[in-house]
């Protein structure tokens, strides 16, 4: 079976086999999960729910740039569900999943435009992650006043997105090509 050109450009599987992909996804999801764990370990609370560093996004961004968005999406979903069940409970997973999916889509689209650097993509990801979470939160408590938190979450999203983006940039510079 000959892999299609589109598959080759983004994929790591030289022969078109799925096993390599799955192995890579599992490895990266485990790495992202460890980052989630470190996130939980760091006592960082300024009183507004949802404000965090989001270091697991580091892995997601590296995957997004070194492989492609499908890997990043897969790793992200596995990471969020497992981390949610392990650390924050089912509702925590629900918030994170909404944030993760929204930020994933936005980051993939922004990356595709080629207008933004890693830092910009990461900033957009950080802010939209918070947006996704607050949308679910205000839906769950059916109260739009949750959005009173949103300005704080925009600023924290910009800050953490910028930090994670710059670190990702440093990593991506040094990391050899994975494919």
């Amino acid at each position: 079976m000959t892999p299609s050109p589109g598959k080759r450009s983004g994929g790591i599987s030289r022969s078109g086999k799925g096993a390599g992909r799955i192995a890579y996804c599992g490895l990266l999801a485990a790495l992202a999960l460890i980052f989630s764990y470190i996130e939980v370990l760091i006592p960082f609370n300024i009183g507004v729910p949802g404000v965090k560093l989001g270091i697991a996004n580091l892995v997601i961004i590296v995957v997004l740039y070194k492989l492609d968005w499908k890997y990043a999406m897969g790793v992200n979903i596995v990471r969020v569900i497992v981390a949610g069940l392990l650390f924050t409970g089912a509702f925590g997973a629900l918030y994170s999943l909404a944030g993760a999916l929204l930020s994933m889509v936005v980051m993939a689209l922004l990356k595709r435009t080629d207008l933004f650097s890693v830092t910009g993509v990461s900033i957009a990801g950080g802010v939209t992650h918070n947006l996704g979470q607050i949308l679910v939160a205000s839906f769950l408590v059916s109260d739009l006043r949750m959005f009173i938190y949103f300005p704080v979450l925009i600023f924290s999203g910009i800050a953490s997105g910028a930090i994670i983006g710059i670190i990702s940039w440093l990593i991506l510079k040094r990391l050899p090509d994975l494919s």
Binding site: P49, T88, G89, F91, G92, L115, F116, S117, V118, T119, G120, I123, A124, V127, A137, V141, F147, I148, F150, P151, I154, F155, G157, I158, A162, I166, W169, L172, K173
Partner: protein, 122 residues
Amino acid sequence: MIMFKKADIFLTIGLIIIGLAMTWFFASGKTDPELLRVSVDGEVYGTYPLSEDRQIDVKQAGHTNKIIISDGTVAMAFSTCHGQDCVKSHAISKSGEQIVCLPNKVVLDIEGGEAGYDSVSR
């Protein structure tokens, strides 16, 4: 590969502007004035703004309750009931708080204003 591109800076500035605009919007948004609602036997007897000091006499079915609003707090000053629990209860001032006089079926509660948030799961 470069660390920043022009579009990143525009994006960041745009987001900061949205954030500031929302902050300004929320800060300038007026909260509803807090109102005292007096109900007798489930029916609304009247609503009164907390901002105005006043005394309210509720006379019904041979019962009398005197309510005093002063400095934004509401207290039951006098009641013809036996228990006098309502008179002893603390003055209320925040949205959602209540004073109840069960024998006279008089309920005072405060509505409007900014409700205190319950804790939200992380």
